[in-house]
Amino acid sequence: MGPYTRTISVGAVIVFGLVFALTGARHTTWEALLPLFEWMETTPPGVISQSYGAAFALVEAAHLIAMAVLGGAVLVADGRLLGLILRDFPLRRVLDQSHRLFVWSLAAMILTGVFMACGVALKVYYLNVFWYKMLALVTGVLFVFFVRRPLLRGDVENMNPQLLRLVGIASLMIWFSVAATGRWIGFSG
């Protein structure tokens, strides 16, 4: 694809996303996912969640604790990118350390999240805000691993500070959206 592979890929994902969102492809895909969500409720996590409210509550508490750590990692990393926190520490170090924490807590959130989703699979299947959260989450994961991390592995000390700030702001926006839509799920249905 030439020297601008990553940029072209990002552009393609954006175009694909717009096409997906604005056409019937969205609905067709949603309908095709119904069997998966019906199956999820029959899995061990699904059965355990539905039988023991306490189990679900504990997993949810773990989800919240992982969220606290992930939120902390994001706030420290993006706060540093925006020059708001830990200013006298090398950008490189703060970013690398936060990223490790981020990856572990993200894994914990996905595991606990899938567990909970199995318990309430059909309920969330019919919830708009659940799908917005999934969209935000997928965007966030792609953004971190395909765009942000490759960028920040480079020579950050000599990079355009406006670009770094833009990336920091975008990152905060995505993870705020994931958290907010996630909390909203709790109020719906």
């Binding site: 409210g53 306490a54 509550a57 504990l58 949810e60 508490a61 919240l64 604790i65 969220m67 606290a68 750590v69 992930l70 939120g71 902390g72 990692a73 994001v74 706030l75 420290v76 706060g79 926190i85 830990l86 520490f89 170090r93 703060v94 690398d96 350390q97 936060s98 490790r100 924490l101 958290a179 907010a180 909390r183 909203w184 109020f187």
Partner: protein, 192 residues
């Protein structure tokens, strides 16, 4: 114990008569926003705290001197705790009687008190510990113990917070006399 429970119930039932309390409870969105803020502010309050605790245990951010990290993250952490306290009080204010008689909230408040004492002791020890260990991966043993206790307390606090919503031990559900005493159920109470 009974006198204590009666006092708490009387106070909560009185708050329950407030117009603003009912308004908040029955509001279309505001209660949900307050609760959402309470939950999402966890990232600011215990997010920062866990980073500090994990640093003391040598598990995260090890390149940054421990006491420096603690000091720098203190401001956002206290900001987060302020938000937690304000939203927590508002949540209590909206549903005073059930909250006051919630077994899980009572346990949570005891744990919060324990966590505060632990934090104060930790802070005192950190101030007197000098700087020699600052760049080491792990903090001195006593500070590690404090950090471990901190994580334990706050994990339990989050769990108790989450369990408040479950009504297994609500006074309305007429629990056993042992639970009823702990939760502060008052015989013949009219408000719930």
């Amino acid at each position: 114990m009974e006198v204590f429970n009666q006092l708490i119930y009387d106070f909560a039932a009185w708050v329950d008569t407030h117009q603003w309390s009912t308004a908040l409870h029955e509001s279309f969105y505001v209660y949900n926003w307050v609760e959402s803020t309470h939950v999402v502010a966890l990232t600011l309050s215990i997010g920062m705290l866990f980073l500090i605790d994990l640093r003391m245990l040598g598990l995260a951010m090890v390149d940054i001197p421990a006491s420096t990290l603690a000091r720098r993250l203190s401001l956002p952490m206290f900001l987060g705790f302020t938000v937690m306290i304000i939203t927590g009080l508002l949540l209590f204010y909206a549903i005073p009687v059930r909250s006051a008689q919630s077994l899980w909230l009572r346990i949570k408040l005891v744990l919060l008190f324990a966590a505060a004492i632990n934090a104060w002791l930790f802070h005192r020890r950190m101030s007197t510990a000098g700087r020699s260990w600052d760049t080491a991966v792990k903090a001195p043993m006593r500070l590690q113990v404090g950090a471990s206790l901190s994580i334990t307390f706050w994990v339990l606090i989050v769990i108790c917070g989450r369990l408040i919503a479950y009504d297994w031990f609500d006074c309305r559900a007429e629990p056993s006399s042992f639970i009823a005493a702990l939760a502060g159920c008052v015989a013949g109470q009219e408000a719930f």
